[in-house]
Symmetry: C2
Subunit: 573 residues, 2 copies
Amino acid sequence: MNIVPDWIKSYRRDLLPGDITASLIVTVMLIPQSLAYAMLAGLPPEIGLYASVLPLVAYALLGTSMTLAVGPVAVASLMTASALAPLAAPGSPEYIALAITLSMLSGAMLLVFGVLRLGFLAYFLSHPVISGFITGSAILITISQLKHIFGVQASSGDVLTTVFDIATRLPDANPATTLIGVLTLGFLFFARKALGQLLQKAGIPAATAALLGRLAPMVAVILSIAAVSQLDLANTAGVSIVGTVPEGLPALQFLVPDGNDLANLWLPALLISLVGFVESVSVAQSLALKRQQKINPDRELLGLGAANIASAVSGGYPVTGGFARSVVNFSAGANTPLAGVFSAVLMAVVIANLTGLFYNLPQAVLSATIIVAVTSLIDIKTIKETWQYDRADAVSLLATLVGVVVLGVEAGVILGVALSLAALVWRSSHPHIAVVGRVPGTEHFRNIKRHKVETLPNLLAMRVDESLFFANAALVQGKIESLVAADANIKFVLLVCPAVNQIDSTALEALTQLQSSLEAKGIKFMLAEVKGPVMDRLQPTELGHKLEGLIFLSAHDAFIYVERHHEAALKPV
Amino acid sequence: MNIVPDWIKSYRRDLLPGDITASLIVTVMLIPQSLAYAMLAGLPPEIGLYASVLPLVAYALLGTSMTLAVGPVAVASLMTASALAPLAAPGSPEYIALAITLSMLSGAMLLVFGVLRLGFLAYFLSHPVISGFITGSAILITISQLKHIFGVQASSGDVLTTVFDIATRLPDANPATTLIGVLTLGFLFFARKALGQLLQKAGIPAATAALLGRLAPMVAVILSIAAVSQLDLANTAGVSIVGTVPEGLPALQFLVPDGNDLANLWLPALLISLVGFVESVSVAQSLALKRQQKINPDRELLGLGAANIASAVSGGYPVTGGFARSVVNFSAGANTPLAGVFSAVLMAVVIANLTGLFYNLPQAVLSATIIVAVTSLIDIKTIKETWQYDRADAVSLLATLVGVVVLGVEAGVILGVALSLAALVWRSSHPHIAVVGRVPGTEHFRNIKRHKVETLPNLLAMRVDESLFFANAALVQGKIESLVAADANIKFVLLVCPAVNQIDSTALEALTQLQSSLEAKGIKFMLAEVKGPVMDRLQPTELGHKLEGLIFLSAHDAFIYVERHHEAALKPV
């Protein structure tokens, strides 16, 4: 791996305008989002700002996506809150220290996975699990933010209690807060759904119109700060505001987690790493494909790992590649990660000089920003499509979704992964077994139930559509034995193995038993279309010796063997 | 299901002599074993006797094996001891109550699995895991019994401490106990290994000689009781004896486990049920095969479940079908489960009248019985064979073995199962992908690396030897994309799917993406040999529509399509 990234070596001046424009637009999105997501994570606003500087630079140096926008994101913030809530009081110094440690651990794990090239681990999170997880998280986040919209107290325990608290305390809602919250929500939804079309009708190009819509949160931030400052709403109307955000860049520090932190945080750190990695890679991949670029998953692990370590070192919390900002970065013309570096510089300028401006920012506006951002992640279409295509996948999706909402993010995602694995084992243990015959005039063998095929009365030819291993060996053996028991004409049993990629030792024993019991009944057991690697291991075994001359290249060859053998048997001696 | 078992309805008088002989011989084996295994389980001797009456009758009524001998067995006894040791003092009333509850829970689970026809669950314990588990348990049991052989104290904690305790305290060994222990061990090993051959040389038929060898433990029991009684070794030489065994049949009771018991015992009960079921079914199956009989795994669950409930009701502990006694029962001529009923009656007679005879039985003799029984379960041959056939299976086996010895029976078996599942997922996530070509003169397509085949310069034909699903979808997609990127001539990509039994929604999305990205490069994506069930689900999807006319019955058809298409493209318009 080169120390200097390729994009720096091959940088051309004509790429600069795109990178600068994109960085400006992304920064304007990033400021309200980093404040809002820090609030969602239970952290003071400055922690979100800190997580939006060095991580961007670290990713630019090690990542492989040209357009991924790294920083605080909604789902990782929710996961941070849910991991730390049992351990310390939100916003307390201990809580902040734990968030930094979580980022450090998560970064270290990603780096280790990257060095060991374990990028494939992320693929154990199936799309249905990821989709159910994201939709469930979005619902959970929305519910958690409602209290800020109305300015009421609500327990942050289980979701039912929270909903109940908000519903019963709605009469005590703070009117000014509610007004700000609902207006902002309305404005942001309008900006997202309709503003683009209106602007297009006014003659603005579609791409520009869409980008302008993305700036709406910043407009809401500026207008609401102005309103609260002018009318002194914090003091006169009890509107909750962000308050003092410390000015100045954070001191760098390197926290080494102790054993206690490790015990408490390894699982959330692992889940945040994996979920963040999967989300990030899928965004990066889909954007790269549009420009015929490539991303390298193992290098992405290093990039995101470095970003999280950088976040921890500069007092931030877990970060990853965000969906919405990356899309905006791409559409705004970002050509290289230099756009991210520029964003980092702009954020550093804001932190060093301008945090005072956020004093009067209402929390309700941040919550509205969060709600509008996450409701776009609620994906009903995928639920419908998955339901139509594959019920088992749909069940994983819904179980993960409900699990996340009812049991929490960690339990939900673990439930989803467990269900995916269980489905895998279940399917493998119930292999599709077809009795096959020859398609007339060809050398092909097909399911006798689906095709008009030729069969021989003394031959049972079966195809098992699965590797043979411990979870299905006994079932396959039993199935063949019962088919043989049902037809006294059978003198040959042929197992066609184009789908058998493996015969483990449990299955080897089952086949050996099967061969013996068939032999005892005067029935010949034969194999066909055994794959090379399977054959190599089968040959030196007891079964391999017994089957010498009875393993055929194709089912067709075995068919001919049985025909000849049968004719020979019919001839008088 | 009929209430009266078939074997009763079709019972013939000529079956009786075999059943009576077998029941006598099995009972003579069962008496010392039930005392010994109760000791191994940390229970008073009478609990072992109680577990040897009603369970045999219950199994006779519901089970499907004609020759399985149910009752206390070594491995389930070890598992009982290891489950209960942390919860109560061995031999205490609470401990006994927990053992009874464990049997009740285990029986209830087996019954539920039987009613739900979940017999297949047992197949998740692969042969290597079972083999490693049995060998590990045998080693653990042997080590646990050494203290009784030498009459020394030893902690029953982890295995290293136990071995260390015994080694350091060997100088304080009780001489009379050691003499009895070592003599019995020697006699029993001799009876097992050499007695049969000696008797054969003396003109006794092989089968009878082998059966006589099985009676050796009873001979050791009788001789040692006589010696201890005559020489008053318990009082004069400090030999540990069984002592008073309560006389009379147990009162029947029905214990309903409370929530606390459930929380403590569900996992051990589940493991005892599954391990016991697997062992029992494999013994029953192998014996049934020898006489062309059949056993029904789901009915076996009911039989063993009822046996365990019956054990609990009559004050016993977990039981299952034992290997050694079943083989003896079979060889001694048992024709039906009536042999088991007779054994139960004989045991009841012993319990009602003869328990006083066991007062002077030395514990060292029981330990020697256990050691000789379990060392025959240590299976080095399977370890060697598995190592040669399949390294991954050998690793599961050894990990389970070492896990059982070092971490204990529960952790060991869980580790083994986890490793088996991990291996399954790992293999599925690294599918074998072969670039294929046509075997000249045939319609068959084979790996270009293994066969001399014809290829077309503009066609990349690949066979994926695995179902496409979340754990391998991205890898397959990446592999194809990189092969395409490496060869600019490619205009057609053909995926041959004889081994693809499933395309889950994650893989569907990956293939949809792949098709789009290939289309963008002017490359046609084609499928061949798609299985019926996979095709049915693929057709109505977006990908299915895009691939219309590009899904071929065989790779050969696709090959011809590409040839024609290519020729057509070469012709001037």
